[in-house]
């Protein structure tokens, strides 16, 4: 039996509120399935399971706020045999079996009595497949208007139900503007989370800053040519090239890719780029684009579009919040020529991408107009020095000279 626990979705997260179960006891889940929705300071996060198996028990009731690490459910792994005699129904109200590993950290709230998932999931008759996935905003809107989600046709990824789908069901062409943003996003709470993380960063991390100007004319020409024959669905943006080049350079310079914890640096085995994404109306978050160094540019762009859309709709997944290994922030589109980021702990570096500006530039001994971008690096002096930081930035610049090879 494996415990499905409240995940840590950032260095400053201590607790989360369980707002929805997408499974019920008896359901089979596979690795990567979203099985619960947790409300945090960064909004509602869809939590995936890393364990395949069958949901044995739900341990925490809805709307409970429990500390990170608290067991939320028990999953019977494949191959495990069920007890000979299933526990009587009344046992569902008993406290969960003690877990030596988690016991010390479980707060009283975490020991809330078990109960079946609340309606509408619990209302589903046995044997009926779980309700389709829906965004937290869609669920809330449906709940507010007593709409049965099973009757709504989803237009999101894998048929998931979006806010707009529920709106259509309601026959509302347009909701009042103040209700359109994903209601789960509490921007004040998000600001507090940002403040806590950034204050900790400035308190603990001895930053150093470098900047490097890069001729991105080859990228712009390549993108123009590449996108010329592509439908808008398949077009690439410079951001994809920048992220891929940072990912590849991070693999070569491991001192910028990993975590500083317990007074030591732990280089990460994979490269998960945290992409800084501005939330409309204020706020910022940096979920991970996993294994960015391994992705083709087309796949990276596709995943980036999906990540940005879901983030702004309040549908980030737990795995995306918990493990970025280095962050990339792009403020160039807002006219900023250079930004000096604050490292998001426990990461040890953040790369800033500035605006592309047309400048007189010397190429092969002749001056000509070229598109120049200022790349910056904020590095952690506990882990690296400016010398290797300069090499890291130069490597990114070199990679961007040959976009066709990214």
């Amino acid at each position: 039996m494996v415990e499905f626990r409240m995940p840590s979705l950032g260095p400053d997260m201590e607790a989360g509120k369980l707002v929805e179960w997408l499974v019920k006891p008896g359901d089979w889940v596979k690795r990567g399935d979203v099985i619960a929705v947790v409300d945090t300071q960064k909004g509602a996060i869809e939590v995936e399971t890393y364990q395949a198996g069958q949901i044995e028990q739900i341990l925490v009731e809805l709307d409970s706020k429990v500390p990170v690490g608290t067991p939320l459910a028990l999953i019977r792994t494949e191959g495990e045999t069920k007890p000979a005699a299933p526990p009587p129904k009344a046992a569902a109200a008993a406290p969960p079996p003690p877990s030596p590993a988690a016991a010390p950290s479980i707060a009283p709230m975490a020991r809330a009595p078990m109960r079946p998932p609340a309606a509408p999931i619990a209302a589903a008759p046995p044997g009926v497949k779980p309700l389709p996935q829906a965004s937290p905003a869609a669920r809330r809107l449906a709940q507010e208007h007593a709409i049965d989600l099973a009757t709504v046709m989803g237009s999101g990824p894998a048929g998931s139900i979006t806010y707009a789908d529920v709106e259509r069901q309601l026959g509302k062409a347009a909701a009042p503007p103040e209700r359109k943003r994903a209601p789960s996003l509490d921007l004040n709470a998000m600001r507090m989370a940002i403040a806590a993380a950034m204050a900790r960063s400035k308190r603990e991390i001895p930053h150093y800053y470098l900047e490097h100007q890069i001729d991105v004319t080859p990228c712009e020409r390549w993108l123009t040519q590449k996108n010329q024959t592509r439908s808008p669905d398949d077009r690439l943006l410079f951001a994809a090239l920048a992220i891929k080049s940072v990912a590849l350079a991070s693999r070569r310079f491991p001192a910028f890719n990993g975590f500083y914890r317990d007074n030591r640096f732990e280089p990460a085995q994979a490269v998960h780029i945290g992409v800084a994404i501005a939330i409309r109306g204020g706020g910022l978050t940096a979920p991970a684009l996993h294994d960015a160094d391994q992705l083709s540019l087309d796949d990276l762009m596709s995943q980036l579009r999906d990540l940005v859309s879901r983030t702004r709709a309040g549908r980030i997944r737990s795995s995306e919040m918990s493990d970025p290994t280095i962050t990339v922030s792009n403020l160039g589109e807002r006219g900023v020529e250079a930004l000096y980021g604050v490292i998001y702990p426990p990461q040890v570096a953040i790369v800033g991408v500035g605006k592309s500006v047309l400048r007189p530039w010397v190429v092969d001994g002749a001056v000509g107009p070229r598109s120049i971008v200022t790349l910056t690096l904020s590095g952690d002096h506990r882990v690296s020095d400016g010398h290797v930081g300069a090499l890291f930035l130069a490597e990114i610049g070199n990679l961007l000279q040959e976009p066709e090879k990214l």
């Binding site: 808008p232 980036l304 940005v308």
Partner: protein, 85 residues
């Protein structure tokens, strides 16, 4: 498709990207990226949505013609008219 329909389609798709914006208050001559806080990803999603909704191909080279609301509507009107001709 009438000009009113095109304007409505543009407004709706922009509103899907920036739901908090009251489209009636957007100056038709203002830079959409600035007044609606739209970045290149938002803009690409807008172009994609219009492409699917109206069946109009919008090459990158034409993006400068879609900087304002008025310019966008005029561009799409012309494209649809030329497609009919």
């Amino acid at each position: 498709m009438s000009n009113v329909d095109i304007r409505q389609a543009v407004n709706e798709e922009l509103n899907n990207i920036a739901p908090e914006v009251d489209m009636a208050s957007v100056d038709p001559a203002a830079d959409l990226r600035e007044v609606m806080d739209i970045d290149s990803m938002d803009f690409l999603n807008f172009i994609t949505a219009i492409h699917h909704r109206l069946g109009i191909d919008i090459p990158e080279i034409d993006y400068p013609k879609l900087v304002t609301l008025a310019g966008t509507v005029a561009y799409l009107e012309a494209k649809l008219a030329s497609a009919k001709a």
